[in-house]
């Protein structure tokens, strides 16, 4: 389970769940991801990815009581598991290794 690969959106959403802590549910995750990536993801895309992360064992979820603001429907709050934390650290290591030696800066002038 822990060795399952993380896609780009999966990693972005997993990091959002870590950042949001106890307030991580569909809408808050979507807002966080959209604000940081500049892309307006559909609520369907967010929940599909969260479900995939849960299947991989990277997050767990619990259903809250129904609220009037949601038309009497419940929220599903997500929390990162130990396996999810390991996957994040692994993704960070891979990203550092991939970027290692790459110098970013102003575009060089053509000769």
């Amino acid at each position: 389970m822990a060795k399952a690969a993380l896609g780009a959106l999966e990693l972005t959403i997993l990091l959002a769940v870590v950042r949001l802590g106890d307030d991580a549910y569909g809408l808050s995750v979507r807002r966080d991801v959209s604000a940081r990536t500049g892309r307006d993801y559909s609520v369907g895309a967010i929940y599909t990815t969260l479900e995939r992360l849960e299947t991989k064992g990277f997050v767990t979820s619990r259903t809250t009581d129904p609220t009037p603001t949601r038309g009497g429907r419940s929220r599903r709050q997500f929390k990162v598991t130990a396996s999810g934390q390991r996957a994040i650290r692994q993704a960070e290591r891979v990203a550092r290794s991939v970027w290692d030696g790459v110098v970013t800066g102003p575009k060089p002038e053509p000769a």
Binding site: L27, S42, V43, G44, Y47, T69, G71, R73, R75
Partner: protein, 209 residues
């Protein structure tokens, strides 16, 4: 359509409920949309919030349809097939009866105007009426999965019409010649099916949330 302040458009909610498997996934998606709608209505006004909601419905529809397919797809498939076949047969029967009654008048008119754009236009309207009737019937007969039944009917008829035209076996359309007519005819039928089918779903009172 009447709407209480703070609540998303009911017609759109009914479409969402009918598109999905009515599972927890549908409930979560609709809950999030309702929560954001309430905030947007306060910040941006009711009209803007409604526009946003309809836009989000279109974006989320493929995910709900996929959820339906995973939860109930194979279970509902025979029901959908039955709805498509029986509604198509019913429309075919109605078409035959009306064509027999109206034939003398249509032929007389055709002799006067020939294959003019007005004549071909009226034939396109006729196709649209067929589509509207078919869409209404298929969503009514396939009420267990009305959105999928409507999509299935539209897809089957579009594929059939295009296939027959490609094979050159559709003599009725073939005799009409004009390319724009050949292209518009299946589109009118498909549009009619979609409009009537989704209109009926959006008006179903039993799906009020």
């Amino acid at each position: 359509m009447k709407r209480s302040p703070g609540n998303p458009p009911r017609a759109a909610e009914r479409l969402l409920v009918s598109a999905g498997a009515n599972s927890e996934f549908t409930s979560l998606v609709m809950g999030d949309l309702a929560e954001e709608f309430e905030q947007r209505e306060r910040w941006d006004g009711a009209a803007s919030a409604r526009r946003w909601y309809y836009h989000e419905c279109v974006r989320v529809a493929p995910y709900l349809l996929r959820d339906w397919w995973r939860e109930r797809g194979l279970h509902d498939a025979p029901h959908i097939a039955k709805a498509v076949v029986s509604s198509s047969l019913a429309v075919y029967a109605v078409e035959k009866i009306v064509a027999r009654v109206a034939e003398p008048a249509v032929i007389a008119w055709w002799r006067v105007v020939g294959q003019s754009p007005a004549y071909l236009g009226s034939m396109l309207c006729w196709t649209m009426l067929d589509g509207l009737l078919l869409g209404y019937l298929v969503s009514r007969i396939g009420r267990r999965a009305p959105v999928m039944s409507t999509l299935a009917a539209a897809g089957c008829w579009l594929a059939f019409w295009i296939g027959m035209n490609l094979m050159g076996g559709w003599t009725f359309v073939g005799s009409m010649g004009a390319m724009w007519y050949r292209a518009l005819n299946p589109l009118m039928l498909t549009m009619g099916i979609m409009i009537a089918g989704l209109w009926r779903v959006a008006r179903r009172p039993e799906l009020s949330s």
